[in-house]
């Protein structure tokens, strides 16, 4: 590599590290403290107006044709964000929602997701002490400064709730001022509704379209008031989704549909063993095959595996050519990795390693020492793949001058830009990222492996856009998996037959540390507690007096990442299965036992009661059937589910799931329902079938027949009941429906046949 280019890369990398350091050293940066909500309004230079469009602020453009273009900085992966976020703006703007359209916002710090970082701190959600609040606030402010545009942690609505409503109210005020001047009346005499400003006394009115040019030129007011909940007319209604029409006629575009002029396609084979390398490959005459443009060897990088790729005029040509090339791999250090052995090691760690304490209250050791009897159970959950319906793919163009363009379904456009610019050796501003619809995300598309590989290939074929498409097998064998985890749960029961203490220890990898190491290596450290490893265990809502919750961190060959609901996805199974065991051991009804332990938590108790009541808890069931209940709080939402299952011929059939969710306030109740239905089915596929196993360093599953999904025929009847506790409890909805499903089903299996299942996937 020539030195000029090396210098460019170093410069890019340095900037990258500085940006990373901002989060790590958030406190050292003085400016954060002075950020105010208003600072999230100013339009960035990256936001440009087309002809006839007027920019009001970072979030709103209004066209002279009356179209209201809301900037959505989060990515639409099915969760409804392209409808829900525009609703926030439209409510305060008093717009006719039919005029509202959404646009993917450009990349700029103002659109950063500050809430996602603030949520990552290792405090219980009910901890509002000054230390917890200060750290949250600091992370939030650091998040604003870093300006990382990312979608995850069910944070989109919570992060946008204030700034996007304020954006709407501010633009509305500007439209009112413009109308008052035009009509020569006082602003106080004007009313706004359905995208019109009306002066009722003189029966005159002006549309937003007529006012846009003049209003957008006015200074932004500083003091707008936001509507109280009672005055919402749009928020809280089941508005049809803005993205649905394009998703029924084939016009919705995904990353894999990008077709820039001159596009060529790449197929890839990655080293089947994690961390391995390419030993040798024989291109032979394949390079001469019709359509074949290049055979490219890709080194392993911090985010991606070593691989061989073939670039051709058409994807099928590339795929066939790749299959004709014999590749030998170096397995490396992990060539013998085996998840069966790993599981046995985890069991030994539960015996021997004290781990790190995540939560402690009272004196659990004393409670166990004095216990009349103890209950102990080991639980286990396997690795899981995301298996988004749209396999990983990325389309990248790096021009001769180093500038770039990327089309990719992703959950973090800021990172896409950094990675591509790093490879091209240019400033990140010179890379344009297009984020079309995502064919599923679930945490997978915050990873940058395919982006890195596409950039490396595009760098070799400058001036030619390349589309790298992974096969389903590559996608399943090179995921960043939901961590495998084991847990030991213990309960002390005193002489009066009451629960006196609880100890929980879990073991597994840290998704946060591994992901940080891949993406922002300067920030990664094993010293930092990763809350996601123990979430759902250390923050249980029950009033368990003497408790100790700890976690043992491991490092494994298999890379892990965020998978819909992250740590909650397995930890709720551990905790809620065991809570059921405690109830049965104490001779109590599992619902009543939980309710009694939630005396101090009215939100949780109410959700539990609604689910139980709607499910007919305690009512009769036909033979072979049983009901199970589970409760989990995640991403600030509280969810309870009752599953009804039938166990016959060694098969579990889930017939009905009744769910209650309290996400504070349901912006769009139909989207909330859809998300909860989705999360339940996602959880059900994992509970009944999901398992990624590794032998000889290689993932054994490759395609849907080996990694089964629940289908239409096996979908239970699902009922979703929304419980609202108010705007102050605003919670996420994309993920919280998943955690309680597996334990509700496992507990129902116990009720049906007396078998206690402590391992996923569930098998009777």
């Amino acid at each position: 590599m020539n030195t000029v280019k090396q210098a460019r890369i170093d410069r890019g990398r340095r900037r990258f590290l500085i940006a990373s350091g901002i989060v790590g050293g958030g406190l050292a940066v003085g400016a954060w403290w002075f950020y105010r909500e208003r600072d999230r309004l100013g339009a960035p230079p990256a936001l440009v107006a087309a002809d006839g469009e007027r920019i009001f602020n970072a979030w709103i453009k209004i066209g002279d044709d009356g179209r209201i273009l809301v900037q959505v900085p989060r990515q639409e992966m099915g969760q409804g964000v392209s409808t829900a976020l525009p609703m926030l703006v439209a409510e305060e703007l008093d717009a006719d929602f039919a005029d509202v359209h959404y646009e993917q916002a450009p990349i700029a710090p103002v659109y950063g997701n500050a809430t996602m970082l603030a949520d990552g701190v290792p405090f219980r959600p009910d901890d509002h002490g000054w230390v917890a609040e200060l750290v949250r606030h600091t992370q939030f402010k650091a998040g604003q400064l870093l300006g990382l545009q990312a979608t995850g942690g069910s944070t989109s609505v919570r992060d946008a709730f204030e700034p996007m409503r304020r954006a709407g109210a501010t633009a509305r005020a500007m439209l009112v001022t413009a109308a008052a001047r035009r009509l020569g009346v006082a602003e106080s005499e004007l009313e706004v509704a359905a995208s019109r400003v009306t002066h009722a006394p003189s029966r005159r009115s002006l549309s937003f379209a007529e006012l846009a040019a003049e209003a957008a030129a006015l200074p932004m007011p500083d003091d707008v008031a936001l509507k109280p909940r009672e005055r919402f007319t749009l928020l809280g209604t089941p508005r049809p989704r803005l993205d649905v029409p394009a998703k029924v006629d084939g016009s919705a575009h995904y990353g894999i549909d990008a077709r820039p002029p001159g596009l060529v396609y790449a197929a890839i084979a990655q080293c089947p063993v994690f961390g391995g390398t390419v030993k040798h490959y024989e291109g032979g005459d394949v390079a001469e095959w019709p359509g074949v443009r290049a055979i490219v060897e890709l080194p392993a990088t911090r985010t991606s595996a070593a691989a061989v790729a073939v670039v051709a005029d058409h994807y099928w040509q590339a795929k066939k050519a790749l299959e004709a090339i014999p590749i030998e791999w170096h397995g490396g250090a992990h060539a013998a990795h085996d998840t069966g052995e790993q599981k046995a090691r985890y069991a030994a760690l539960l015996d021997d390693d004290p781990g790190r304490v995540y939560d402690a209250a009272g004196d659990s050791a004393a409670a166990f020492a004095a216990a009349a009897r103890t209950l102990e159970a080991d639980y286990h959950a396997p690795y899981l793949a995301h298996a988004t319906m749209e396999p990983m793919n990325c389309t990248t163009l790096i021009r001769a001058d180093g500038s770039g363009e990327v089309w990719v379904g992703n959950q973090a456009p800021t990172l896409v830009r950094w990675i591509t610019a790093e490879v091209a050796g240019v400033d990140s501003e010179r890379v344009t990222v297009h984020t079309p619809y995502l064919g599923g995300g679930f945490g997978r598309r915050g990873e940058m492996d395919v982006v890195m590989q596409a950039a490396l290939i595009a760098e070799r074929l400058r001036d030619t856009p390349i589309q790298l498409v992974w096969s389903r097998e590559e996608d399943m064998r090179h995921d960043l998996y939901r961590p495998m985890a084991s847990a030991r749960l213990r309960a002390a029961i005193d002489a009066d037959g009451a629960l006196a203490g609880v100890e929980i220890k879990s073991v597994g990898q840290s998704a946060v540390t591994e992901l940080t190491r891949r993406l922002l290596p300067a920030m990664a450290s094993d010293l930092m507690k990763d809350k996601t490893m123990s979430e759902g265990l250390f923050d249980l809502p029950y009033a368990f007096a003497n408790r100790t919750v700890s976690h043992v961190r491991t490092h494994e060959a298999v890379p892990v990442g965020f998978w819909r609901s992250v740590g909650h996805s397995m930890n709720a199974f551990f905790a809620e299965g065991f809570v059921d065991e405690i109830a049965h051991t104490l001779g109590q009804d599992p619902f009543e036992f939980r309710r009694a332990a939630l005396g101090h938590a009215p939100r949780h108790r109410r959700v539990l009661e609604v689910a139980a009541e709607r499910a007919g808890w305690g009512g009769p069931l036909d033979g072979g059937r049983g009901r199970g209940i589970a409760l989990a709080e995640s991403f600030h939402a509280v969810v309870a589910q009752v599953a009804e299952v039938r166990v016959a011929d060694e098969a579990i059939t889930v017939e009905r799931v009744v769910c209650a969710i309290d996400c504070g306030f349901a912006l769009n109740p139909d989207i909330v329902r859809a998300q909860v239905e989705s999360a339940i089915i996602f959880g059900l596929s994992a509970a009944l079938h999901g398992e990624i196993s590794v032998r000889n360093g290689r993932v054994e599953q490759g395609n849907f027949p080996d990694y089964r999904m629940v289908g239409l025929a096996s979908t239970p009847r699902i009922e979703v009941h929304i419980v609202e506790s108010g705007l102050e409890h605003l919670g996420g909805v994309g993920e919280p429906g998943t955690p309680p499903l597996a334990p509700a089903v496992a507990n129902a299996v116990f009720a049906a046949c007396g078998k206690r299942l402590r391992e996923l996937p569930l098998r009777v």
């Binding site: 006629d249 099928w316 319906m389």
Partner: protein
């Protein structure tokens, strides 16, 4: 060269005969509404109608399509008028990420063409497409609605 009709229009395609119809549609004809999900006929994302029959195009070689008439999601609407199945999909707000929906809709169109009032068992047996977003409850409701069955009936 292979000649086939796609959405009423005749095309002469210059590609190897073993190229699956899926890639012909997407890469040669620019019809990207048909999606790639698994490549082995296991998910249904690539479903199109071939002479009216729901077909997983990822395993159908171009050579087998000579003279056939193919309908993709782009050709389902009748002029400006959406197909009743598409309308029901909007009415019942079926799609989430939407990636599986072209295939889901075309599988439904084929089902209803020969079984206008399918039972739940028939729906389950014929609609085997995978939806990772789990839109099945709404797919079921929409199918019932188009087939004139009360969509809310349990």
């Amino acid at each position: 060269m292979t000649t086939l009709t796609v959405n009423g229009q005749q095309h002469d395609v210059e590609a190897d005969g073993d190229t699956p119809l899926l890639w012909v549609l997407r890469d040669h004809l620019g019809l990207t509404g048909t999606k790639f999900g698994c490549g082995i006929a296991a998910c249904g994302a690539c479903t199109v109608l071939v002479d009216g029959a729901a077909t997983r195009s990822c395993v159908l070689p171009l050579a087998a399509c000579a003279g056939k008439s193919v309908t993709t999601i782009e050709g389902l609407a009748d002029g400006g008028e959406l197909h009743p199945v598409q309308q029901a999909w909007i009415e019942h707000q079926v799609p989430q990420c939407g990636y599986c929906q072209s295939g889901m809709i075309l599988a439904t169109v084929a089902l209803l063409a020969d079984t206008p009032r399918p039972s739940e068992a028939e729906i389950g047996a014929r609609i085997t497409n995978i939806c990772r977003c789990g839109t099945y409850p709404r797919v079921l409701r929409a199918i019932r609605a188009v087939s004139g069955v009360d969509p809310t009936a349990a």
